[in-house]
């Protein structure tokens, strides 16, 4: 899976983009747990949302290999 990383999360991961293996349980929740265990600083953010193919995703949504996942720290536009 292609993973895009923005803002404070990008500073933690150190990269704007990652190739990440599809979790054996391919839910967003499982992806969240995997990425947070690899980069524990992500847990210190106020909140962490995920988008799949440019739409906000729920924990129970199922990921596929060709999905583009985005890690979305608290937004602060405007």
């Amino acid at each position: 899976m292609k993973v895009l990383i923005f803002g404070a999360a990008r500073d933690i991961v150190g990269k704007q983009e990652l190739d990440f293996p599809l979790p054996s349980d391919p839910s967003v929740k499982s992806f969240r747990e995997n990425i947070c265990s690899q980069f524990p600083e992500l847990k210190k953010l106020n909140a962490l949302a995920f988008a799949v193919n440019e739409e906000y995703a729920n924990d129970e949504d199922v990921l596929k290999n060709q999905d583009v996942v985005a890690i979305i720290p608290p937004v602060s536009g405007g």
Binding site: L4, F6, G7, A8, D11, K44, L45, N46, A51, E54, E55, Y56, A70, I72, P73, P74, V75, S76, G77, G78
Partner: protein, 139 residues
């Protein structure tokens, strides 16, 4: 044109937003302009940097405009957001709403900026004399 959405690295222009928002059936326009303040919680801000997830940010801004056109009796809505580095006094966002009557214009404009700040994937970093911080990222 009922809605106009724009993400830009160049300075935003109020007149451009008004040109989209205005029409002869409008009796009221409400324009919200965000500007870069010179301080946050007492700390002097030198500049701001906005980054965005461009394709998704545009989709989310389109959704806000569509929702506003459904929820409120408005005729037009324009949402322009700036990205990149901004100095004090520069404009990160302009929302302009045109309506026949003023209360719908106010309500839709406030709805749009409130929702934008909750949903649109844009991130603001504030630069102080002694450091920088992603706004709202950490408790």
């Amino acid at each position: 044109m009922k809605k106009n959405i724009h993400l830009s690295t160049k300075p935003l222009e109020i007149q451009t937003c008004r040109d989209f928002a205005s029409g002869n059936s409008n009796g009221a326009e409400c324009i919200f302009i965000g500007t870069v303040r010179n301080a946050t919680q007492g700390n002097a801000v030198h500049q701001l940097h906005f980054e965005c997830y461009e394709s998704m940010a545009i989709k989310e801004m389109e959704k806000i405009a569509d929702q506003a056109l459904i929820k409120f009796e408005i005729l037009t809505i324009t949402i322009h957001h700036r990205v990149g580095t901004l100095a004090i006094g520069e404009i990160p966002v302009i929302i302009a709403v045109g309506a026949a009557h003023r209360s719908a214009a106010f309500d839709a404009c406030q709805f749009a900026i409130d929702t934008l700040k909750e949903t649109v994937p844009i991130w603001k970093k504030e630069f102080f004399e002694d450091g920088e911080v992603w706004v709202s990222a950490h408790p």
